[in-house]
Symmetry: C2
Subunit: 440 residues, 2 copies
């Protein structure tokens, strides 16, 4: 399953963060596109260029509530000497066959209604007496109060140029124009445009379905009672929430006990609804590291490209990691370490980009920035490891929160950034510039 | 329903954008809190301070896979003269009653397992021979390969200080500590912390349920066939998507014909699932402006604070707007104009903050920035109106896309910012600094 790039050779050689990420991204392919209802496609990536089938607006129409007129009939009209026109009826929005406007005539017209044949311009109702004969009005009378519609005569107090207050057919987009490019992420304005050009469904890459399970016989569900040696499962909650935040449909399976057979059958059960599997825990060097044990058997010898590889990364936290694919569809699987901070940081660095690659977006990574370190003392970092410390970022400055311990979940909940300390740096002085990953 | 602040007096007086927004925000109250399952509370606002019921970790535990030892037994140990200790058994994560470690003894211990009584420190397995008698190892043998567990003797090649590789009880958080403050928005790390301290449910303000309907007899559903004078409904799709983006649960009712009785009964039907109603269209001065007509009757004279007020704003696009409350629960209702760009801009300026006020977040508004205008010519803006033009923003520069027309939906789909031209500005030269609203 791995690409041809140079990789650490032996099982005990360290992989760099970048090598591991590159291995993941060279393996994970965008999901096959499907046709979705417009609102189900929100946040998804368009697969094909979309062209405009009919011009928008599809017909000349009024941009105002007013009267549709001929230009010559209102030429020179003023407050003192208004044009007086015969009103031939109403043109409402949606009118299929509007009344014709002849010389000396006007039709009362609503915003969005088609410009009737014979008319050249629209005068806003505020430039007229609204047919009431009592000087300029501020609006039309509601139809319920005057159900007979417009009739009689209207006084027009201002002239209008040809096409005044008329939105021309095709002035927004023309038939054949490119509406949206393949690769566009569909937010509300893009959905608006697709609806406006008549697209009820659209071909996109679907949201990836991500199955999250934590492992560990010590794990108890929140809300239950802790016995000796037990802790609450937090990883399955955190990573399910994080997968959703990344754009996925996430399923939380919860905690699986440290038993290889149970884990294998749980994973096999879940494959049917998974585009990506994420596990936490059981990937290190202990005798009870069940994920490592169970998945060493999961690769089918008959299936090329199947199998999960466990490796050590030059990274803190998050040294032990597993990555590969599993099952008949070669579903990608990321096996993260079990410490809450390790699993969360690993999610941000590896799982989030994998989810976004499945979605087909080009913008895979969290934004990064340079920031000045604000701290009481120097930050220490082990040589040869890329360290990710938790911090809070404001206006170009970052302040560490909590320590380096991978169990410090309370500090993580206060952080909005990861401080990156490179492999060759063992100490960072306050006031130095560091790279930060903004968790947004 | 309006507050006591100075407001335009007459029905034809213009309201400023800020007056209208202030009226909305002084009326809309955060929703009543409810107790939700942790993952259902994602993105919601915590109502109460949450304190830590039990310290984390709840017991001293190992941060490594290794051996739990007494310090004196490994003092002075080295590669050449290792300490040799009797292995009394395994301590797995979740162990309720771990074996005791006496002088000259060690217990094999897994990451997260409780430090057994008698032991003072943990030596990583990599500092030992793993009980195999063949020099340093890189990990433990999986239990499936050695089901008998740890026994015999282990060689330890390095000494350890007291508490080495031990995570102390309460070193993350202590019982009684403040875990999260009221008002915190629950993202993945906050959900992690709540789970870790055993909270299965949490009291938050729920996501607002927003009902979106467009009005207009000219509107046809996308995917159907256009007849003369008809256009596709795009507003109900755009604003449903935008309401979700703002954090709401959004229901798209679709397009309602220009008939006051139908609209009134549709709104009444929908009230049961609405914390906020949003309509588009039918709010201007035309004879068929059905929202205005229907909702003028909706205020119940017996119910103080009920009713929808229609007003004109000193704004382009988006001049005609309605705001008020409706029904027995005084459900807030925003009636937006019907042009696609007008309704979208109105949503961003007024509905989005209203949704976020219902959620109880303090961060109501889109971020704003100053940007240098990049354009071929000056931007024109009508005096006395605050204009919102569509633009694309990059690195401190903003470029207008499309024109000022409120029907230009194709340009809106290319924009990621609104350019704000103040009321007293009629022209903005290229190179000048302008305010922009970042649509994110």
């Amino acid at each position: 399953m791995s690409s041809a790039a140079t990789r650490p050779a032996g099982p005990d050689d360290l992989w760099s963060v970048d090598e591991h990420l590159e291995d993941i991204l060279s393996t994970v392919r965008p999901l096959e596109p499907i046709e979705l209802q417009l609102l189900d496609a929100q946040g998804c990536v368009l697969v094909d260029d979309v062209t405009v089938p009919v011009s928008l607006p599809p017909f000349d129409n009024s941009s105002m509530d007013g009267y549709a007129v001929r230009v010559a009939d209102v030429a020179g009209a003023g407050e003192e000497f208004p044009a007086v026109l015969e009103v031939v009826g109403d043109v409402a929005a949606g009118a299929a066959d509007p009344v014709r406007v002849g010389p000396g005539q006007a039709a009362r017209i609503m915003t969005g209604a088609p410009l009737p044949p014979g008319a050249e311009a629209v005068v806003p109702v505020e430039w007229t007496d609204g047919g009431l004969g009592e000087g300029p009005v501020s609006g039309m009378r509601a139809r319920s109060l005057a159900p007979e519609g417009a009739e009689g005569h209207v006084h027009v107090y201002r002239s209008a140029e040809a096409r005044a207050h008329v939105r021309a057919k095709g002035s927004d987009v023309k038939a054949g124009d490119l509406a949206l490019e393949a690769g566009t992420v569909l937010g509300p304005p893009q959905i608006a445009l697709l609806a406006a050009i008549g697209r009820g469904t659209v071909r996109v890459r679907p949201r990836p379905r991500v199955v999250v399970m934590s492992t560990g016989s010590e794990l108890v569900q929140p809300g239950e009672r802790l016995a000796g040696g037990q802790i609450y499962d937090s990883n399955s909650f955190a990573l399910t929430a994080a997968a959703r935040d990344a754009g996925a449909i996430a399923y939380r399976v919860g905690a699986v006990a440290d038993d290889a057979e149970t884990l294998r059958s749980t994973i096999e059960d879940q494959l049917i609804r998974a585009d990506l599997l994420v596990t936490t825990g059981g990937v290190s060097v202990g005798a009870y590291d069940v994920v490592k044990e169970a998945l060493s058997y999961a690769g089918d010898a008959d299936e090329a490209g199947s199998g999960v590889e466990f490796r050590k990364l030059a990274m803190q936290p998050g040294k032990p990691q597993g990555f590969g694919s599993i099952g008949p569809d070669h579903t990608p699987l990321l096996a993260l370490p079990g410490n809450p901070v390790s699993s969360y940081v690993s999610f941000e660095l590896f799982v989030r980009p994998a989810i976004r690659a499945l979605m087909g977006v080009t913008d895979l990574h969290r934004p990064r920035a340079r920031a000045v370190l604000k701290a009481d003392g120097a930050l220490r970092s082990p040589k040869g490891r890329r360290q990710f410390l938790r911090g809070t970022y404001t206006d170009g400055e970052v302040t560490p929160v909590g320590g380096a311990g991978s169990h410090l979940i309370a500090a993580l909940a206060q952080a909005d950034a990861l401080i990156v300390v490179p492999e060759d740096t063992e100490s960072v002085e306050p006031g130095s510039e560091v790279e930060v990953v903004l968790l947004g």
